[in-house]
C-alpha cells in the first residue's frame, strides 16, 4: 500500500495521465466523455498524492530518462509547484464537471475533452518543469491547446479572438525562446537550479531576462500588452473562458515568478517598480473598462485584465522586508482569482444558456430564475472584490500589509481603488439580478451539474480564506533563495 502510494506520487504521473487521456479521447471520440471523466478522476488522485508527498517529504526532483542535469531534463516540484498544481486540480474538477453537461454536439464534446486534457497535461508539465527549454515546449503546448479551445465556440468573434491569441502567443514564446538561447550561450546549462547558481549580472543575462520577461508579460496580458485578452476570453465557450482566465494566464506568470526568484542575478529595484507600475495601470484601466462593458463575459474578461495587475504588485515588494508576506499574498491571490473567476465564467455560461444572452442590464429576476447560479455569482463576486471571509480578502489584506510594512503606501491606494471599482462592477451585475424585474422568457434548462460546478468553485474561493496558514507552510517548502534575497523567512 505504501509502495503504491509512493509510486503514484511520482511527479511524472501528473503529466502522463492527462496526456494518455487526451490521446485516448482522440482515438475514441464516441467514448470521449467516459475517457475524459476517467482521466480527470485519475489525474485528481495523482495530483493529490503528489501534493501530499511534497507536503510531507519536501522538494521532489525527478530525472526523466535517468540522465539528470545538465544533459537530461529534471522535473522539479517544490511548494510553489505544489500550490499551482493543487489550484489547477481544483479548477479542473469544476470545469470537467461543467464540461460534462455544457457541450451538446458530439463532435465538439469530443474535441473539448481532447484539448482540455492537453491543457491540463501541459499546465502540470509546466509547473513541474525544472528546465528552461522544457518550459518553452510546455508553454507552446498550453498556448496552442488554449487557442484551439477558444475556437471551439465557432463564429467570427471566437475565430478572430483565437487567431489573434495564437499570433500573440507565438510572439511571446518566440521571445522567451530567444532568452533561452542566450542563456544557454552564456552558461551552457538549461537546468534552472544550476543556472541560478551561475548567473552573473552581465549584458547577456540582462538581455536574455528582458526577452523572456517581455514574452511572458505578453502571454500573461499585463497592461498594455493585454489587447488580445478580452476578445479571446470573452468569445470562448464558458468553461474555456474559466480555464483561460483562471489558469492559463497564471502559467506564464508562474514562469515569471520562477525566473525572478531563481535566475535574477542581483536585486535591483527598477524592474520591480516598473512591473508594479504596469500592474497598477492594469488594475485601473481594466476595472474602468469592465465597468463600461455591456456583456457579462466581456466584463469578466476585462476584470481579468485588472486582476492580473494585482499579481504584478508583488515585484516591487519582493525585495523588501515584507517579501514573505507579499509572496504569500500573491499566491493566495492566484488561488482565489483562479477559483472565483472560473466560477464567475461558469455562472456567465449558465446565464447565457438560461436567458439566451448575457447583457448585464437585462438580467432582472436572475436570483429567482436561477438561484444556485446566482448564489455562486454572489459568492465568487465577494471573493473578487476582496470582502471577508473570502480568499480574495486574505490575499489583498496580505498585499496591503506588505506594501505598508515596506513603506510603499502608494500601492495600497491603487489596491483600495481597484477593490472599490471591482465592487462597483460586481454589484452592477448582482443588483439587476436581485431586483425582481421582468423575468424574460426562460429559454433553456441549466443542468444541475452546471450550476453545481459553479457553486463548488465559488465555495472553494470562500473557503480559501481559512487556508492561508497551510498554504504558507506549503509555500515554504523549498522556497528559493530565502537567505540571499532578503526578508525574514
Amino acid at each position: 500500500m505504501i509502495a503504491l502510494a509512493v509510486a503514484v506520487s511520482c511527479p511524472i504521473w501528473a503529466i502522463v495521465v492527462p496526456l494518455v487521456g487526451a490521446a485516448l479521447t482522440m482515438l475514441w471520440p464516441r467514448r470521449a466523455t467516459f475517457v475524459g471523466a476517467a482521466a480527470t478522476l485519475t489525474t485528481l488522485a495523482v495530483v493529490t498524492a503528489l501534493t501530499a508527498r511534497i507536503a510531507q517529504t519536501g522538494v521532489q526532483r525527478y530525472a526523466v530518462g535517468g540522465w539528470g542535469a545538465p544533459l537530461g531534463i529534471d522535473l522539479y516540484a517544490d511548494g510553489l509547484s505544489a500550490i499551482l498544481l493543487a489550484i489547477t486540480a481544483a479548477v479542473a474538477a469544476g470545469v470537467s464537471l461543467y464540461g460534462l453537461r455544457y457541450f451538446r454536439a458530439v463532435s465538439v464534446l469530443a474535441y473539448f475533452w481532447t484539448l482540455w486534457l492537453f491543457v491540463w497535461a501541459a499546465l502540470n508539465a509546466l509547473f513541474l518543469s525544472g528546465d528552461i527549454f522544457n518550459l518553452y515546449v510546455t508553454l507552446e503546448l498550453v498556448g496552442l491547446s488554449a487557442v484551439a479551445l477558444v475556437a471551439l465556440a465557432g463564429g467570427g468573434a471566437a475565430l478572430t479572438g483565437a487567431l489573434r491569441y495564437l499570433l500573440v502567443s507565438l510572439v511571446g514564446s518566440a521571445s522567451y525562446l530567444l532568452g533561452v538561447a542566450l542563456l544557454y550561450g552564456q552558461y551552457a546549462v538549461l537546468d534552472i537550479a544550476s543556472l541560478g547558481a551561475q548567473v552573473q549580472p552581465d549584458t547577456v543575462t540582462w538581455v536574455a531576462m528582458a526577452a523572456m520577461f517581455a514574452g511572458l508579460m505578453l502571454k500573461t496580458a499585463l497592461f498594455p500588452l493585454h489587447f488580445w485578452l478580452p476578445a479571446a476570453h470573452g468569445a470562448a465557450p464558458a468553461p474555456v473562458s474559466a480555464v483561460l482566465s483562471g489558469l492559463v494566464v497564471k502559467a506564464s506568470f508562474y514562469i515569471l515568478v520562477r525566473l525572478w526568484l531563481q535566475l535574477f542575478p542581483i536585486a535591483v529595484p527598477a524592474p520591480g517598480q516598473l512591473l508594479g507600475a504596469l500592474g497598477a495601470a492594469a488594475i485601473l484601466w481594466g476595472s474602468i473598462q469592465a465597468l463600461r462593458q455591456e456583456r457579462l463575459k466581456m466584463l469578466l474578461a476585462y476584470s481579468t485584465v485588472a486582476q492580473i495587475g494585482y499579481l504584478f504588485l508583488v515585484f516591487p515588494l519582493a525585495d523588501t522586508v515584507a517579501a514573505q508576506t507579499a509572496w504569500l499574498g500573491v499566491l493566495m491571490f492566484i488561488a482565489s482569482h483562479a477559483l472565483a473567476k472560473s466560477a464567475l465564467f461558469l455562472c456567465a455560461g449558465n446565464i447565457l444558456r438560461y436567458y439566451g444572452h448575457d447583457r448585464v442590464h437585462k438580467l432582472g429576476g436572475a436570483a429567482r430564475g436561477e438561484p444556485v447560479t446566482f448564489f455562486a455569482l454572489g459568492l465568487a463576486g465577494v471573493s473578487l472584490i476582496g470582502l471577508p471571509p473570502s480568499g480574495g480578502f486574505i490575499a489583498k489584506w496580505l498585499l496591503i500589509e506588505a506594501a505598508m510594512a515596506s513603506g510603499q503606501w502608494w500601492w495600497v491606494l491603487v489596491m483600495v481603488t481597484g477593490a472599490f471599482l471591482a465592487a462597483t462592477y460586481v454589484f452592477r451585475v448582482l443588483g439587476d439580478g436581485l431586483i425582481s424585474g421582468t423575468v424574460s422568457a426562460r429559454r433553456q434548462v441549466v443542468a444541475p451539474g452546471m450550476a453545481g460546478a459553479a457553486l463548488l468553485l465559488a465555495l472553494g474561493a470562500t473557503v480559501l480564506g481559512f487556508l492561508a496558514v497551510p498554504m504558507d507552510e506549503l509555500r515554504q517548502i523549498g522556497w528559493p533563495l530565502v537567505a540571499v534575497r532578503g526578508g525574514q523567512p
Partner: protein, 334 residues
C-alpha cells in the same frame, strides 16, 4: 589564411548578407505570391547555413519542414483564401448571431510603422549587444554529450540528445504535433480540394518518385541512429509524399477509415508513452532505457513516430477533419 579559408569566408559573407536581404523580401514584397516564394528561398538558404554550421540534422529538418512543408501550407492557404467567398459555407454557432459577429473595428488599432520600427530597433540593439559579448569560444554541452554517448550504441549525437538524454522534450514535441491535428480537426471539415485535373505528368512523377521516397524515409530512420537523419526527417519525407499524392488528386487519407487514421495519428505518441511507463514498471525512471535495449527501443519509438508524423503532416495539410470520418463526428455541426 589559406585559399580554402578565403573561399569559405567569402561564402559565409555572401550567405550572411543574403539571409536578411531575402527575409526583407519575404516580409515586405508587395506581391503575396512573391513573398511566399522568397520565404521558401529563405528556408533553403537557412538549410545551407545549417550545413555550413555543421548541423546536418537541422539542415534536413529545415529543408523538408521549414522550407518544403511550410511552403506547401502557405501556397495552399493562399489558394484557399483566394477561393473564399464571404458567407459561403459559413459555420453555424451555438451563440446568437449578434454575439458571434466580430466586434466593431475601433476596438483594436494597428500599430503605426514608426512605433514598430522603434521597438524593433531597441530589440535589435539589445540583442546585438548581447551576441557580441557572448564568449567567442565555448563548447557548450558538447564534451558532456561526447562523454555520455559511448554508453549507447548511437553515433549520431543529435539523435542521442533528441531521443535519449532529452527524450522527454521530444515526447512533448510529438504531443504538440498531435495537438495540432486535434486543433485543425476541431475547426471543421477539410475544404474541398481544388478541382484541377492532375495531368499524366504529375501522376507519373508521383508513381516514379513515391516508392523512392518511402525507401529514403526508411533509410533516414534506420541510418538516423548513426548518421544525420531520424524520425522527424523520415516522417516529413512520408508527409511530403502524402502532399504530393494529394496534389496529384489521389488523396491518401481519404481512403483510410476513420479509426485507422486516428490510430495512425495516435500510435506514435502512445507507444512513446507506453515505453516510458514500462520503464517505470521495471523499476527505472520514466523513459530510462536499459543499456542493452536502448538502441532497439529508440528505433521502435522512432519507427512509430515516423508513421504518426507523416500522417499528421498530411492531415495538417488537408486543413480539416477528413470527410470520411465515421466517428459520429461526421457532418458534426456545432
Amino acid at each position: 589564411m589559406d585559399a580554402l579559408g578565403l573561399v569559405n569566408a567569402a561564402f559565409d559573407l555572401v550567405v550572411i548578407v543574403l539571409l536578411p536581404a531575402v527575409a526583407l523580401g519575404a516580409v515586405m514584397s508587395a506581391d503575396l505570391f512573391k513573398a511566399i516564394i522568397l520565404f521558401i528561398t529563405l528556408g533553403l538558404l537557412l538549410a545551407l547555413t545549417w550545413v555550413r554550421l555543421a548541423a546536418p540534422d537541422v539542415a534536413l529538418a529545415e529543408a523538408a519542414i521549414g522550407s518544403g512543408l511550410m511552403g506547401a501550407l502557405l501556397l495552399s492557404a493562399r489558394e484557399r483564401l483566394a477561393r473564399t467567398r464571404p458567407g459561403r459555407d459559413r459555420r453555424t454557432s451555438h451563440y446568437p448571431r449578434w454575439m458571434t459577429h466580430p466586434p466593431p473595428r475601433r476596438s483594436h488599432r494597428a500599430v503605426s510603422p514608426w512605433a514598430a520600427s522603434g521597438l524593433v530597433l531597441i530589440a535589435v540593439a539589445g540583442l546585438t549587444a548581447a551576441v557580441v559579448t557572448l564568449p567567442h569560444e565555448a563548447a557548450g554541452l558538447a564534451p558532456e554529450v561526447a562523454r555520455q554517448t559511448p554508453q549507447r550504441d548511437l553515433a549520431n549525437q543529435v539523435t542521442f540528445v533528441l531521443l535519449d538524454a532529452r527524450g522527454y522534450d521530444t515526447l512533448l514535441e510529438i504531443g504538440v504535433l498531435l495537438l495540432a491535428v486535434a486543433a485543425v480537426w476541431s475547426l471543421g471539415e477539410a475544404p474541398e480540394p481544388p478541382q484541377n485535373a492532375a495531368g499524366p505528368m504529375l501522376q507519373g512523377f508521383v508513381g516514379t518518385v513515391g516508392p523512392i521516397m518511402v525507401l529514403v524515409a526508411g533509410y533516414l530512420l534506420w541510418a538516423g541512429t548513426d548518421a544525420p537523419g531520424g524520425a522527424f526527417q523520415a516522417g516529413v519525407m512520408l508527409g511530403a509524399l502524402g502532399v504530393l499524392l494529394s496534389l496529384a488528386g489521389r488523396h491518401p487519407l481519404a481512403r483510410l477509415p476513420g479509426w485507422a487514421l486516428r490510430l495512425a495519428v495516435v500510435s506514435g505518441p502512445m507507444l512513446f508513452l507506453a515505453v516510458g511507463v514500462t520503464m517505470i514498471g521495471l523499476g527505472r525512471h520514466f523513459l530510462e532505457y536499459p543499456q542493452a535495449h536502448a538502441k532497439a527501443l529508440i528505433l521502435l519509438i522512432e519507427a512509430t513516430a515516423m508513421i504518426s508524423i507523416g500522417v499528421i503532416l498530411v492531415s495538417l495539410y488537408a486543413g480539416g477533419r477528413p470527410l470520411s470520418d465515421e466517428s459520429g463526428t461526421r457532418k458534426g455541426r456545432l
